[in-house]
Symmetry: C2
Amino acid sequence: MPRSGADARRRLQQAALELYQEQGFDQTTAAEIAARAAVNERTFFRHFPDKREVLFDGEADLRAALMQAVAEAPEGLEPFEILLCAFRKSARNLENNRPFSEPRWKVIAVTPALRERELAKHAWLTDAVAQALRQRGVDHGMAGLAAGTGWAAYQHAVQAWIDDPADGLDTHLCRAFHDLRALFTSALPMQARPEH
Amino acid sequence: MPRSGADARRRLQQAALELYQEQGFDQTTAAEIAARAAVNERTFFRHFPDKREVLFDGEADLRAALMQAVAEAPEGLEPFEILLCAFRKSARNLENNRPFSEPRWKVIAVTPALRERELAKHAWLTDAVAQALRQRGVDHGMAGLAAGTGWAAYQHAVQAWIDDPADGLDTHLCRAFHDLRALFTSALPMQARPEH
């Protein structure tokens, strides 16, 4: 994409985020976003298929980066340690881009149509992470379980970082994985005893 | 609701599930569902606001039952043990109703519009579970982390049960929580060391 195209794309994303914050997602039209970004509506639709997608750019890149981070984590780590490595790498982008990440997160949280899109994206990324763990030789079922629960811990950390920016996302992420471990090692052995 | 209303509601759910399986969700209209259930289209819309909701009945009841199960789990359990108790209770309905649960799960898995709806419902139920843990005195952050990761383990178990019906859902659920614990206790201590 020529430089002017990339600029317009970024302006459209910023304009959409501002308008969703100011007047709500449902009340905002693609034409308004285009106007604030100083492009025409046709340009909006050349970059994004709809109003939702403007906040979900770069997913294929994120997916590839996560899978690569899992593949490149040091040898000899357990699945959750591999995931923590990969999520810490991925979280740097969110952290470095907080002026965009934070309002984006908040708008998505209060907009059901965006929240559904976000959750679907997360399910897709979780599947990719599970696949990357399997490619490292982790058992099929264990990889799915570790990816699903690890992703939940990652999202918990992002929420904690949004709520409490005094600590960095990396600190929140390490804390979530540490807490998860504490939650399990403190628990009594759990057996498949029948319930009455 | 009078008995005839409850019957029509069940017939509509069964008809929708059959049609979504046979010809796909996108290709099915509310009128077709109503016709197969031997009611008119107006009756469909008296029971359900749209084609998606027909597969997501009883959510408020499920939410209340989950919260009650968390509240009523024995004293002295750790958060993950409380969750396992609550999920085992909740899973009985899925298990007893496998002839409906299984095709419903499969249709949702291949239909993005239904999958998004399902994920949003799960996020809402996860929040309820976290809230119920907090009402038992579990720390705010720990409750969110345990609910999010515990829910992911529960869904992993449901998927395993769909894929491998030789074992019951209760067995898959206990196994998922056991495996999660094994994944953590085998890992080396994880520290918040900076990455290079």
